[in-house]
Amino acid sequence: MNDIFTLMKSELAVTAIIFLLLLIKIGKGVRNEALLPIIQVLLLINLISGFFFNKEGALFGDMFHTSTLIAFQKNILNLGVYLISLLFTDWLKKSQHMAEFFMLILSALLGMFFMISSGNLLIFFLSLELSTIPVAALANFDLEKKRSSEGAMKMILSSAFSSGILLFGISLMYGATGTISFAEIPAKLDGSSLQVLAFVFLFSAFAFKLSIVPFHLWTADVYEGSPIAVSSFLSVISKGSVAFIFISALYKVFQPMQAVWYNMLVILAVATMIIGNLFALRQQNIKRFLAFSSIAQVGFILVGMSSSDNTGVTAVTYFILIYVFSNLAAFGIASVISEHSGKENIDDYKGLYKTNPFLSWVLALALFSLAGVPPTAGFFGKLFLLTAGAAKGEYWFITIAALNMVISLYYYLRIVRAVFMDKNETPVDKIKLNDSVKLAFIICGAGIVLTGLFSWIFDFIQSLH
């Protein structure tokens, strides 16, 4: 029990910040302009402290367990939240509910932490809900916009539905195995049809959260309707956390069912990449575009997951780290432009390079990283996912994945083309960037370039196993 402060330190820190904010909010003393820097500093401290004193251990009778890898994964999420607090400064300052925003974001983050660390299905389910329900509320944070409410509605109803399915699966699993503890389940799995059925139900809930086709349909609508900050949270952090728990669940808990989930992953990965790409092809709204592109990215994550050895875990973790930088940068640009000009369509980005070269380069970097073009880190990330996925020697599978990279390149290049090549009579005006936003972009840019070139990061993650 004495370990509680070291093993649960991330969770405790986040909780502490939530309560601090709660107190501040109740005290009603601080304006947004003053509060935001405080929050940013707190998050930065949280992020930095997350790198130290990590060790392996379990608490609460194995309901909660952590390891250096898990701590690292949590810190990736911390990093994402920190970047969000920087990137969306403009939007946050205008918001009336900034403190609430952070409280909810951090609650969700807390939920994710517990989720990654969960040692049984109950904790998993609860933390999954904890990471979902606040975000659904957040999706509605553009209170005046109907689209925001519509998105939130779609999210809460869909996720409630998926929770129902998940719970049904859990209950069957419980019935079939007699336990909800992750540690005990593998021994009880015998591959009976009921277990397969239960597993499919469970799987579909993961798939829902990760926006795997055909469980992805809510994604685009919610991303488009929500405030960009929330969309980015959903697309990067939410997804990242689910991917982490998903992969560890598959590899550890459902290891005996590998034959089933490998095939499932392969089928769904192919479907997800193809459908995500095909939809992204013709999107006009940048948020919706990023939504579909992130669906396609999930397809690639699934390719990496299909490896079923440590390389897979490392590749996925590494990819998500890179994905945090790249996707947040892209969302950040979208947000900055949307805040300053109200424009969210790709056509509005035409001629951006003329007026905003810095933004254009960051955007280009981010998109190239998403597309997996060297020398950006995305290249390494994607490549290692494919490397991990190729271990089974399924050439056609990897070929499809690789060819999908080409399709995705096409639509990423569409934006690059708009920004750099197309002419526009009325381009977006020159935008004066807030310092913290600039800092965030620089961090993202550096992350995009350096994460790949500093190969020890990958080796470090691999060493965490």
Binding site: F379, A390, G393, I398, L403, V406, R417, F420, M421, F458
Partner: protein
């Protein structure tokens, strides 16, 4: 010599270009940088020859290995053999010429030169890499700069062309990627070329992986029928872009076809050799005939590139040591020649603002220097002795003829027939542009080449002549390397 220098110099130049204050600085920095690259390439050649002269017969010289992504067994493994040295020289030549002909770029100068230098960097890295992963990295690094160069500074249907190019090349590299991953697992988790070369790869795997790799690299080097990005890409690209594209980038593919696909997968190569031969023989003739009908100078050179590159692939497919050497010489020769060709076209276009053959005529009168270079490059293209094209084509043909059966013979004769068709289209192009009466009175006011253009042309012509007049130095560099490849194919 430390091979890392070949990466550091372009990288530093590129960074310096990014940080420089104005266009003038950018240009001079790039020029100095590429001059340094050229010097480095020559030093490499010299030290390489020295090392060989001292009796070092290792396959790769100047090997270096820095761990990178250790957990996946990836390392920065560099090393050069004769082939790489030659390719590096080629890159240096084309780079400096490319920098020089772009002297008048006004739009986004800094970005332009940055991308140009990045392309060069990619090529150097590609040629010195002995780790397939790193090799792939450098291969891909060059795709996006090409896209941007065409899309931003291009002409005509540039967006379409840029897209097509980027997508087709990426498609190619997707296949390469799969192939490389296949090798990685077969070779016991190693991307290292020299390691993989030591393992015996099962035949059934070779049958799958070889086509993936060959077709993938083939896209880069315009393997028929995956060549369609070439005409559009070249014609839309800015001058230096076309030069890099045809002069260097297409060579990446050829090099890969040989060094990666054929060398590592000899059984696959033997199995598919006939298909390669058929395709490249078709490409040679078909490209030549298609060229005949083109009206735009850049299209002419683009299609003729398809035809010429066919010789490289034919040489590889023939699987004899001479033919492979010839294929490599053809790569170098075509690289220099086509770069020069595009440079000349660019110079003409800058002045006349047209690339349509029909609208020109008599340029010999107003711009004798440019027209003379045009002559030289044209003659090189049609394989005139004394210029590099001849050496290359003859070596390929002689090598091809060593295969003693009807199929190979027919393919060789078909390829040889192209020298006539090439003569037809080249002479038509020259006759209609450089010769004949001047059709447009406005052309009388045009000026001949400026110093930078002259220098660029002279550098490339020097390269062409040095191969054309005394080819044996090149031959001696390439032959031992080709022999090693052949030995693996022959199972020795």
């Amino acid at each position: 010599m430390n091979l890392l220098l070949l990466l550091i110099v372009p990288l530093l130049t590129a960074l310096a270009v990014l940080l420089s204050a104005n266009g003038r600085q950018v240009k001079w920095l790039s020029f100095i940088g590429s001059l340094a690259q050229l010097a480095l390439a020559f030093i490499l050649l010299y030290t390489f020859e020295e090392e060989r002269a001292t009796g070092n017969t290792a396959q790769m010289l100047f090997e270096q290995r820095y761990p990178l992504f250790q957990s996946l067994n990836i390392s920065l493994h560099f090393g050069v053999d004769g082939i790489s040295v030659v390719m590096i020289l080629l890159t240096a030549f084309v780079s400096i010429a490319g920098v020089l002909v772009s002297w008048n770029i006004e739009k986004m100068t800094k970005e332009f030169y940055f991308l140009l230098l990045l392309l060069g960097l990619g090529a150097y890295g590609f040629f010195i890499s002995l780790d397939l992963f790193i090799l792939f990295f450098f291969l891909e690094i060059s795709v996006i700069p090409k896209y941007l160069l065409i899309g931003i500074w291009g002409t005509g249907r540039k967006e379409y062309s840029a897209n097509k190019l980027a997508l087709m090349l990426m498609g190619g590299s997707a296949l390469i990627l799969v192939g490389i991953l296949g090798l990685y697992f077969v070779a016991g988790h190693s991307f290292d070329l020299t390691e993989i070369a030591k393992t015996t790869i099962p035949g059934n795997i070779q049958m799958i992986v070889f086509p993936l790799l060959f077709v993938g690299f083939g896209v880069f080097t315009a393997l028929f029928p995956l060549h369609t990005w070439v005409p559009d890409g070249h014609s839309s690209a800015p001058t230096a872009g076309s030069m890099f594209l045809a002069g260097i980038s297409m060579k990446l593919g050829g090099y890969g076809c040989l060094r990666v696909a054929t060398y590592l997968l000899p059984e696959g190569a033997k199995e598919y050799a006939n298909i390669i031969i058929a395709l490249s023989a078709i490409a040679i003739l078909y490209g030549a005939f298609a060229t005949m009908m083109q009206k735009d100078l850049k299209y002419i050179n683009a299609y003729s590139s398809v035809s010429h590159v066919g010789f490289s692939l034919l040489g590889i497919g023939m699987l004899t040591q001479t033919a492979i050497t010839g294929a490599l010489i053809q790569m170098v020769s075509h690289g220099l020649m086509t770069a020069l060709f595009f440079a000349v076209i660019g110079m003409i276009y800058d002045r006349t603002h047209t690339r349509m053959v029909a609208e020109m005529g008599g340029l010999m009168k107003v711009m004798p220097f440019i027209a003379t270079i045009f002559f030289i490059v044209g003659l090189c293209s049609l394989g005139l002795p004394g210029l590099s094209g001849f050496v290359a084509e003859m070596t390929v043909l002689v090598g091809s003829w060593q295969n003693n059966d009807v199929f190979h013979r027919v393919a060789t004769i078909a390829a040889a027939m192209s020298i006539v068709v090439t003569a037809v289209y080249i002479l038509r192009a020259i006759a209609r542009t450089a010769m004949g009466p001047i059709k447009n009175a406005a052309f009388l006011q045009l000026k001949d080449a400026a110093w930078n253009e002259k220098l660029a042309a002279i550098i490339l012509v020097a390269g062409i002549l040095s191969i054309g007049i005394a080819p044996n130095w090149l031959n001696e560099l390439l032959r031992p390397a080709a022999e090693i490849i052949m030995n693996r194919i022959a199972g020795k």
